[in-house]
């Protein structure tokens, strides 16, 4: 299963169903919602946290949280 945590730098994806209760509501409020686009901008040194662009909002989350969010990769043409 592809999640935000498995994205590579610069990769973009579409957020899929979000079922886990552990996903902080705050993340949804900031625009992390099914159907929206997410791009991995940068990974911090030591591989955590992740720097994302979700729906034009720039934010960083820890890898634990990123693992809970399923995505579908957007293939580059």
């Amino acid at each position: 299963m592809t999640t935000i945590a498995s994205l590579k730098k610069g990769q973009r994806a579409i957020i899929g169903e979000m079922n886990s209760e552990e996903i902080p509501l705050k993340l949804l409020e900031m625009g992390c919602l099914p159907g929206n686009e997410v791009e991995l901008i940068q990974v911090a040194p030591f591989k955590d946290p992740l720097y994302l662009n979700i729906n034009d909002t720039f934010l960083s989350i820890r890898k634990d949280t990123a693992r809970l969010i399923n995505v579908e990769l957007i293939e580059d043409e």
């Binding site: 911090a44 030591f46 946290p49």
Partner: protein
């Protein structure tokens, strides 16, 4: 008679809400705390028109009404409580033009509470540059409210905003989202159980309890005919609500907002590439820190010397011009130096917060948090703990205050608890004099000076202990507090000078009037203990010393210092020093060092001055004290008192012990209870005692 209305300012973090507040209110703001918690409360009364005044309350920044932190909880508690004296007549939601979509979520939630809600879109001056166009008329229609474009940076649009506030009664109370559409059957039964209540408010009360772990939900669920849902079902409904709101917002913005993507600049990416680089990111961060602390040390020296001087002159003035007696002594030797002891911290606090607020305003702080989070998490802290820990090397007081930025209470508490271990500038004079006494001034490998190495090791020791005890504290503290690491990475901006100034003034004021009271009280107590004695030996010190000294062979000055030394020995504090002698002897100290340790409580650097008084050195010239100290003999073991063993023991004691009343006072203020400062006092000092004991016994 003019009428006064309540206005609440609400908005996401990083929307410039504080600047909007500053522009609306000017300097007549009042800063306090919400009762019982240490969340800042900022308010001001302004005049809107000839007979209308507005009480403006700046609520903490929040992304929604689903609170996860104390700050956010304040917002929802107020908006749900009609009886609160601050309950708003009108709410202004401050949003920024670039993140309008996300900001509107909070707007729709507040509007659905049935409050007149104005939308103020800040940073409108950036619209052209970012290629953004907005159809205000249509947006007002869709949102059913008044929309104002403003720019806090350029101070534009505020008159129009004030007019909208004055005309709040014309604003429609129609909700954006029909609450029952989230889950029809559930909301219908909820409404049936509470027919007189506003449906959306009821829902917020329920979700609030799930989010924030309060108990009043039992009251709601116990009503007949209403089947409550489980926490997990409620969380799913909350997700559903958020998605529904975003659908509404997306549709609204599709009609009203156009963005020319070609104009979105790549500035962020360019700066980020450098600032969060896996090597350069850290190099730059360390350089910035280094610069800041150099500057704090350098710049603070001048005002601190000036403050010192001023209070000395003031004391002298009182002594010379007031009728001699207890009152004059109390004022000139107790109260004035006590106040001086508070004011002396002001330069360091002001400079530190000057830099911190600049780093925050520019957006750099989020990058530091991003860089450091993984490392700090290992030690029970968050990326946001870096600033307090590093600030601690100047002074623990502003550092403890800087921990306010950490949302998670547990991570914040751990940070506050361990910060005093970092080597603050007050330890430096103590370290310097003891190192020069017991560490040889020689070079190792002909290169590195042993004394310099020792000083560096002491700094590393302080930082290492802070981090290690953070790990320990996070294991021991059983605090289950929900807070998530979701950090916004704002755009880089030039700092707004006005905001920086307000932050500095605010933090300084909160130190002087918050912790200041306690510091003043304790310094007066310490002064009384040092200036009075239980026996008549203290009162007759003049005669006793004069009769036992050959008056022809000493100068007046020498006699004077001899008398004050005798007085100190026979004061309450002197007897206290003797009383604790059995406790400090195993560490290699005598009763004189005991006194110095007790009086260090006023401030660690007092150690040197106290020893100077006891040894009747007269002035605090380092060379004289040093030669006097090296001549002291150990009353029990014989030989010199300051040996390698007792010196190391003393250095370790000062490195670990909590002996700064100002820090205790600020920790009490920030945590709201005496529990944590007492934990620090006994925990740190106990640890210091044990380490110093082991060191002395092993080395002697």
């Amino acid at each position: 008679m003019s009428k006064q209305i309540n206005v609440a300012l609400v908005g996401n973090p990083n929307t410039g809400k504080t600047s909007v507040f500053n522009n609306l209110t000017g300097l007549n703001q009042k800063v306090g705390n919400y009762p019982g918690i240490t969340v800042e409360k900022k308010e001001a009364v302004i005049k809107l028109s000839r007979n209308l005044k507005a009480h403006i309350l700046d609520l903490p920044g929040t992304y929604s009404l689903n609170a996860t932190s104390l700050d956010e909880n304040v917002v929802i508690e107020l908006l749900l409580n009609k009886n609160d004296k601050d309950y708003p007549d009108v709410v202004v939601v401050v949003s920024d033009i670039e993140n309008l979509k996300r900001n509107l979520l909070l707007f729709t939630q507040i509007k659905d509470l049935g409050l007149p809600t104005i939308l103020a879109i800040n940073m409108a001056d950036r619209m052209d540059r970012k290629g953004i166009q907005l159809d205000i008329d249509l947006l007002e229609k869709r949102l059913n409210t008044k929309v104002n474009l403003i720019s806090a940076r350029k101070n534009e649009g505020f008159d129009a905003l004030k007019q909208s506030i004055s005309a709040y009664q014309n604003i429609s109370l129609e909700p954006c989202l029909d609450a029952s559409s989230i889950d029809k059957t559930y909301f219908e039964s909820l409404q049936k159980a509470y027919p007189d209540q506003d449906l959306y408010k009821l829902w917020l009360v329920i979700t609030q309890d799930v989010n924030f772990g309060k108990t009043n939900r039992n009251r709601i669920s116990s009503e007949s005919g209403f089947k409550p849902k489980s926490d997990s079902e409620i969380k799913q409904l909350q997700q559903k609500e958020t998605i529904k709101r975003y659908q509404f917002i997306n549709n609204t913005l599709k009609e009203t907002l156009t963005k020319d993507l070609a104009l979105a600049t790549g500035l962020r990416a360019k700066i980020d590439r450098l600032l969060i680089h896996k090597v350069w990111g850290y190099v730059i961060f360390l350089s910035i820190l280094f610069l800041i602390f150099q500057t704090i040390y350098d710049w603070s020296t001048y005002p601190m010397d000036l403050i010192d001087e001023t209070f000395l002159v003031l004391s002298e003035f009182v002594k010379d011009n007031f009728p001699a007696g207890m009152l004059s002594d109390l004022i000139s030797e107790g109260v004035i130096p006590g106040i001086g002891g508070i004011v002396i911290f002001v330069p360091q606090i002001a400079f530190l917060f000057l830099f911190i607020s600049i780093l925050e305003e520019t957006g750099y702080m989020s990058r530091v948090v991003f860089l450091m989070d993984r490392v700090m998490r290992k030690f029970g802290m968050s990326g946001k703990s870096v600033v307090p820990l590093v600030s601690g090397t100047a002074c623990a007081i502003p550092a403890v205050m800087a921990a306010r930025n950490i949302e998670s209470w547990k991570e914040r508490l751990v940070t506050i608890l361990v910060v005093p271990f970092t080597t603050c500038s007050a330890r430096l004079p103590v370290y310097l004099i003891i190192i020069s006494l017991v560490i040889p001034n020689e070079r190792w490998l002909g290169l590195f000076n042993y004394q310099g190495i020792t000083l560096m090791l002491l700094y590393l020791l302080g930082f290492g202990t802070a981090v290690a005890s953070g790990w320990l504290a996070s294991k021991m503290l059983k605090i289950d507090f929900k807070s998530y690491f979701v950090v916004e990475m704002p755009d880089y901006k030039l700092p707004i000078f006005k905001n920086v100034v307000y932050t500095v003034v605010e933090k300084t004021k909160s130190f002087v009037f918050g912790a200041g009271k306690i510091i003043l009280a304790i310094s007066i107590i310490l002064w009384v203990l040092a200036s009075y004695g239980p026996t008549d030996k203290f009162d007759n010190a003049d005669d006793i010393v004069k009769s036992s000294t050959d008056l022809s062979r000493v100068t007046d000055e020498e006699l004077e210092t001899e008398i004050s030394s005798f007085k100190l020995k026979h004061s309450y504090i002197g007897y206290a020093g003797k009383a604790i002698e059995p406790i400090v002897t195993p560490l290699g100290y005598d009763w004189k060092i005991g006194i110095a340790i007790i009086s260090s409580f006023a401030a660690r650097e007092v150690f040197v001055g106290t020893l100077a008084t006891i040894y009747s050195v007269g002035n605090e010239d380092e060379q004289t004290i040093k030669s006097r100290m090296s001549a002291e003999t150990n009353p029990i073991l014989g030989g010199p008192l300051f040996t390698f063993a007792s010196g190391i023991s003393l250095l370790l004691f000062y490195a670990f012990a909590m002996q700064c009343m100002s820090t205790l006072a600020i920790v009490k203020k920030e945590t709201g209870t005496w529990k944590w400062p007492l934990v620090q006092l006994f925990g740190m000092s106990g640890f210091a005692y044990v380490v110093a004991l082991i060191a002395f016994q092993a080395l002697k």
